[in-house]
Symmetry: C2
Subunit: 205 residues, 2 copies
DNA sequence: CAATTAACGGAACTGGAGTACCGTTATGGG
DNA sequence: CCCATAACGGTACTCCAGTTCCGTTAATTG
């Protein structure tokens, strides 16, 4: 008598199961970048991944659920931040990283697609939130260092500053047709640094 | 001999045709807010709008195309901006307006859905870009007035400042689970005003 | 106020997404 | 190394989104 609440793939996650997951997530990423979120269907994913259609439906069930798992996978691949010694330098490094990612045709399309998927289901949204939470936490220390140096007022929320760097880049990506160049990245970093120094991101005021 | 290139609904746009469009766009908005972009299909829209399924497929054809038309409709309903006499006051009014819109359950879900749809097709994306372009242009004059008063340096891009107010609100809506409160709106306006005064949005540097 | 025909809408059809069933493979524990 | 069974995958089926066809309604023109 097996317990009902066990999800497929959790009891024997090694070997074949892991290979299937890798192939399916790979195919999902490819399809999302090529065709976008709207034309995504599980039967097509199964064909691309050269995996049984039944397997995909059993393990993931829906398109949004599949993207949620892709986001878990993406969250695990974290790239370390660079340190320059100044707040503006660190924020610019962050802004350039985000800008390069979003401007790259493949990566940019993928990010747009996972954001779209996240608007459709709570579970997927949660996975996306966790993804960004990890990225923000990775970079927050550079703001804390600036606070310690006295460059930024005590009580500033580091997370909020990091988010302020990315926000205009994402906003531009989604709501305008203009390209994301390095100038946009630098402007985002400078604006965030200036506002942070002026105490615009004081926590809980 | 009719010219091939005429889209249905353009030759006799009055009466019944207009009623059908209104009913379909209404149903589209309702469905987007209730079920999100993923579960949208034209047959369901036709049922809700109490309109022939054939009509919907003939006039719009695809889900993304339908959302593009919805965005054209949304762009036409413009609300006038308020004027307070100071840059910070105007930006706060704008931020509060955006925040209230996105925080409202119905409107917030709708905006998420149209953004998702816009990531899936060029035509829909263009309609979204035009929508935001109109909104930004509506509010840009308040920045120009601040430039004229000498509050903000000459050469500042007014559009960029207005976008800087909305950006963190949208970023928060899409990438975090946190609620959009008035404090977030005020913070966004203050950060943008501070950065603008410091010359962070100088054009073409 | 006809006449023309754009646009709508019902009915019947089709292809493929999603489901059910069951045999096969190979993982992980003993 | 072997057994129990988790997980995969082929086949056959269902159901409905999307299409085709054609008759009906009503928006425009003179």
């Amino acid at each position: 008598m097996g317990v009902e609440g066990t999800e497929p793939g959790t009891v024997r996650p090694g070997g074949r199961t892991a290979r299937v997951r890798a192939a399916v997530l790979q195919a999902t990423g490819d399809t999302l970048t090529e065709q976008g979120f709207a034309h995504l269907d599980l039967a097509d994913i199964a064909r691309r991944a050269e995996v049984g259609k039944t397997t995909v439906y059993r393990r993931w069930g829906t398109v949004t659920s599949l993207v949620a798992d892709l986001l878990v996978d993406m969250a695990e691949q974290s790239l370390p931040r660079t340190e320059t010694g100044s707040l503006l330098g660190d924020l610019k490094a962050n802004a350039r990283l985000v800008q390069r990612t979003l401007a790259a045709p493949r990566q940019g399309a993928l990010f747009k697609a996972v954001i779209a998927a996240a608007t459709c289901e709570a579970k997927t949204a949660e996975a996306l939130h966790r993804f960004y939470d990890i990225r923000v936490k990775e970079w927050a220390p550079c703001v804390q260092q600036a606070i310690d140096r006295g460059e930024v007022p005590e009580g500033t929320d580091p997370h909020e500053v990091i988010r302020a760097v990315s926000a205009p880049l994402y906003y531009r990506l989604l709501t305008t047709g203009e390209s994301l160049d390095e100038a946009a990245a630098d402007r985002a970093a400078e604006a965030a640094a200036t506002a942070a120094r002026a105490g615009a991101y004081l926590r809980g005021v």
